[in-house]
């Protein structure tokens, strides 16, 4: 069973914070008295996906603090999940670390979350680092109304059928290999060894096999009123130094955001770096390079 991975280091400290009655699991790398950097993971990930990236910043003298989003990793499963609640959970973690402005990193969904948090609470953010977390309108295909109606009917029925079966729902068990293989379908650019490692820290071993810890009520896709441009429109508001890093290689979990879409929204204190031959998980594919860019920004 792989419990290690080259360069990976488990957090130095773990604790929980209360967010409206839910226990949010917080993970920290580095000295407790060091200047903090807060980091939000992406959807369907967990803080342990920073196990290679976080130690690079911790070893550079920072207290790297991340947390499992509600329903993810070791955080408590909620009855309901929405964007506003995720933001409140983040604020509860911030409150447990510092009330000063601190550097903030967000990957994917975490990038969009931290962008909104920086817009809502600018006094809490000194630098904003967005790792492939800038969805844009152009990255979503346009379809005809007729097609949209048919697709939506399928999504709606599937989603409601799913909601009817949630009581006592469990994720499908499997071996470490099987869970790694399933995750690999959405993370095809990540190595099998890394995916196996993630199973050992992001899943639990039950009598009938391993299960990802993420709330079984959560699922990909679906529908809702949210528009990708609603996230991007917050970027010009940001008044602190911004570093946006996009991977250009196609990736199932990626947004496919074009360089021009970001440049047109980048604030004056913003920098965009496009990484060729890198997918959505820029900090996992190029941890040293991304960590160095972060260190350069916050120096």
């Amino acid at each position: 069973m792989p419990t290690t991975h080259p360069g990976a280091r488990r957090p130095d400290r773990q604790r929980t914070v209360d967010s409206g009655g839910l226990a949010i699991a917080v993970h920290e790398w580095g000295e407790e008295g060091a200047p903090p950097i807060l980091a939000a993971h992406g959807g369907f990930d967990f803080a342990g996906t920073f196990d290679v990236f976080a130690p690079l910043l911790a070893d550079a003298g920072f207290r790297f603090v991340s947390w499992d989003h509600r329903g993810h990793g070791d955080s408590q499963h909620a009855a309901l999940y929405n964007w506003e609640a995720d933001l409140r959970d983040a604020a509860a973690v911030f409150d447990s670390v510092s009330f000063d402005a601190v550097p903030v990193i967000g990957h994917s969904k975490g990038g969009s979350l931290m962008l909104q948090l920086a817009d809502a609470l600018p006094h809490r953010v000194s630098h904003l680092i967005n790792l492939d977390g800038l969805p844009s309108r152009r990255s979503f295909p346009d379809v005809s109304d007729h097609q949209r109606t048919k697709l939506m009917a399928k999504d709606l029925t599937s989603w409601l059928d799913h909601r009817r079966t949630l009581v006592d729902a469990q994720r499908r068990p499997g071996t470490i290999e099987e869970l790694a293989e399933r995750r690999g379908k959405m993370n095809p650019r990540l190595s099998t060894d890394w995916l196996r490692y993630l199973v050992t820290i992001g899943a639990r071993e039950d009598a009938d096999g391993w299960r990802w810890k993420i709330d079984p009520t959560m699922r990909f896709g679906g529908f809702g009123p949210w528009r990708p441009e609603w996230s991007m429109m917050r970027l010009p508001d940001i008044g602190v130094p911004v570093l946006a890093v996009l991977g250009t290689a196609p990736d199932p979990m990626g947004w496919g955001t074009a360089e021009a879409d970001v440049l047109s929204h980048l604030p004056p204190a913003g920098r965009l770096v496009m990484l060729d031959d890198v997918g959505h998980f820029v900090h996992i594919e190029r941890p040293r390079q991304v960590a160095d860019m972060v260190l350069e920004l916050v120096a």
Binding site: L80, Y81, N82, T149, A153
Partner: protein
């Protein structure tokens, strides 16, 4: 009034029987911070069949979502849990319940035999596009009994309701229900989402008695 308790994930829902009967039920969906009334309201007495009311998550005798995270599509799921218990229904939604009723009419178009949308608390929601972001971490304490959940009041007055998004649910209801008229708007106020719905085929504006008669006669 008797109540049936149903489970929607971690939330327990209270479904109240206001009037017994064997025909297709009228299912009442209350407004924001309201709850199912204790008896059939006078303006709905004309409905010829049984009348039920659902307390939405975080409201009335239903339980709250710990840590909250309310959104209207989840409340559509509440209604669907009630439909799984009752079978085909006609919906009567006030305010928030009108919007949720629209979603349910589109989401379970074959099971919703008409939806009547009218005025009430929470009709407009957060408007057609996002407002300035805010991240409050604490609200006032919940009232005795726990409902209405203060987080429900906060979150369900900020949820964005684009007119074109709402219209897609009206389109689902019209195209999949088989009804000539699937939705009736009987209230006075017309927030942007409802304007978008009214512009769709299969949606009419009429009086409440007309809507009740129309859907009572629907197959």
């Amino acid at each position: 009034m008797t109540a049936v308790l149903l489970q929607h994930n971690k939330v327990q829902l209270a479904l109240h029987e206001l009037r017994a009967g064997t025909a297709r039920p009228l299912l009442l969906l209350h407004g924001l911070a309201e709850r199912t009334p204790g008896a059939v309201p006078a303006h709905l007495v004309a409905w010829p069949g049984p009348v039920w009311g659902l307390d939405l998550s975080g409201h009335g005798a239903s339980s709250v979502a710990i840590g909250a995270g309310y959104f209207c599509e989840a409340l559509m799921g509440d209604v669907d849990i009630a439909i799984a218990h009752l079978g085909p229904v006609t919906l009567f939604g006030r305010g928030l319940g009108a919007y949720v009723g629209l979603l349910a009419a589109g989401g379970r178009a074959e099971q919703v035999r008409g939806a009547i949308l009218t005025d009430g608390p929470g009709l407009a929601g957060g408007g057609p596009s996002p407002s300035s972001p805010a991240v409050p971490t604490h609200l006032g304490p919940p009232p005795p009994g726990g409902t209405p959940d203060p987080w429900a009041l906060y979150e369900l007055t900020r949820d964005v309701r684009p007119p074109d998004y709402a219209a897609t649910f009206a389109r689902q209801a019209s195209t999949r229900s088989g009804l000539d008229t699937a939705i009736a708007a009987v209230g006075v106020n017309r927030p942007p989402w409802l304007e978008g719905v009214i512009a769709e085929p299969g949606v009419i504006e009429c009086s409440l008695p007309e809507a009740l008669a129309l859907f009572a006669a629907a197959p």
